[in-house]
């Protein structure tokens, strides 16, 4: 396995990361996100599929999509997602992770 899914973020990964970052670093964003992830994500230039992954804390799929792992980790700690779920979601995509 390789340490990183992408050598430099794609535009899509940029916007996933933008959400994961802003929610925990911009005044009022965590409250807005918690109140309604769908409303929070409405103006973000990401596909409905990717937005659903974010909303559903689909950690493994977001990892494969190039989300920065540190942002993903901090996001889930910040939302109080149980660690066992977090790790299980990642383990489930082991076969699809980048190798070589």
């Amino acid at each position: 396995m390789r340490n990183w899914q992408q050598d430099i973020p794609t535009i899509q990964a940029y916007w996933i990361d933008r959400v994961l970052f802003d929610v925990h670093h911009k005044e009022g964003h965590l409250q807005r996100y918690n109140a309604s992830p769908d409303a929070y994500l409405s103006a973000i230039p990401l596909s409905a599929e990717i937005k659903a992954l974010i909303r559903d804390n689909a950690v493994g799929a977001l990892y494969l999509a190039g989300a920065n792992p540190y942002l993903l980790r901090a996001h889930c700690l910040g939302l109080h997602m149980p660690d066992a779920e977090f790790v299980a979601s990642l383990r489930a995509v082991a076969g699809e992770a980048r190798r070589g």
Partner: protein, 277 residues
């Protein structure tokens, strides 16, 4: 002219503070004890300022301006950056005069650091200082290396930065005693399918090569094998900075234990720069 009185390295992870009970009591006590020992050893070198080499875990920096190396240049640093980190908020004292010196010397010497007068430091800097009992004692200069978002600086460049730091410290006239604390690593994965696995063999070999002090072998190993040790192992860059700064002084491993429940191969070490040698 300041002396580099000691160089230290220690792993960091937020779970040591957030999930203390995730590991056996014996492991937790051992790690906490060893951090206190490291803190005592560092304090015994009587540093006026500690240069803390770590990485920002994307709290201060983002993809809109991600520095390869950033030198903190403030008199005070709020912490922690993580609203979810289980630690009491407190400011770390800075040493902006030493920061300005290192920054100026770096630019003169052909390095290209960013600088920051306002950082809210995260667990990378805070956790080891808190566990070592030093977070309210020492003044610091944080140097933040990009270990968290490719493209990353090379392992070789980090060693060069370390060598430079040693020179810059020795040319500083503002105080007499400076120490270095590098934090991060060793083998671990953060939010990857391998999370919780630890490549102990990688860690043992990396530590052996630090002791052997053969730069070429060390860089070759770090560069070629870091992908086997996890994305968190990219933080060995911080250890290589320390190693470069300690240039040829004796390396001593203080502690190593792979703690799967804390997701991390936890190491602590020092280089004896302060001894006559």
């Amino acid at each position: 002219m300041a002396d580099l009185v000691g160089v230290f390295a220690a792993s960091h992870t937020p779970v040591m503070l957030n999930f203390p009970d995730a590991v056996e009591e014996a492991d937790r006590s051992a790690v906490y004890d060893e951090f206190r020992k490291l803190g005592a050893a560092l304090a015994a070198t009587k540093p006026q300022t500690v240069i803390v080499i770590s990485d920002d875990h994307l709290h201060n920096f983002f993809l809109d301006n991600l520095p390869a190396f950033c030198i903190g240049a403030a008199d005070s640093y709020a912490s922690p950056a993580e609203h979810w980190l289980a630690v009491d908020r407190h400011a770390l004292r800075g040493d902006s005069a030493l920061s300005a010196h290192v920054l100026g010397e770096a630019l003169e010497a052909g390095f290209d650091p960013a600088f920051s007068m306002q950082l809210t430091l995260d667990h990378g800097v805070l956790t080891p200082l808190v566990l070592a009992g030093l977070s309210r004692q020492v003044a610091i200069v944080p140097i933040l290396v990009n270990c968290v978002q490719p493209p990353l600086p090379t392992m070789a460049r980090c060693l060069q930065w370390g060598r430079f730091l040693s020179t810059a410290i020795r040319s500083y006239r503002g105080c007499e005693r400076v120490a270095i604390l590098a934090t991060g690593g060793i083998s671990h994965d953060v939010a990857t399918p391998r999370m919780g696995m630890i490549n102990e063999a990688f860690d043992r070999e990396f530590l052996r090569l630090l002791e052997l002090d053969d730069s070429e072998q060390l860089l070759r190993f770090a560069t070629d094998h870091v992908n086997e040790a996890g994305n968190g192992a990219e933080e060995i860059r911080n250890w290589l900075m320390a190693h470069g700064a300690a240039a040829g002084h004796r390396f001593e491993l203080q502690f190593y234990r792979p703690l799967h429940k804390w997701y991390t191969g936890i190491g602590m070490a020092r280089w004896h720069t302060g001894d006559a040698s």
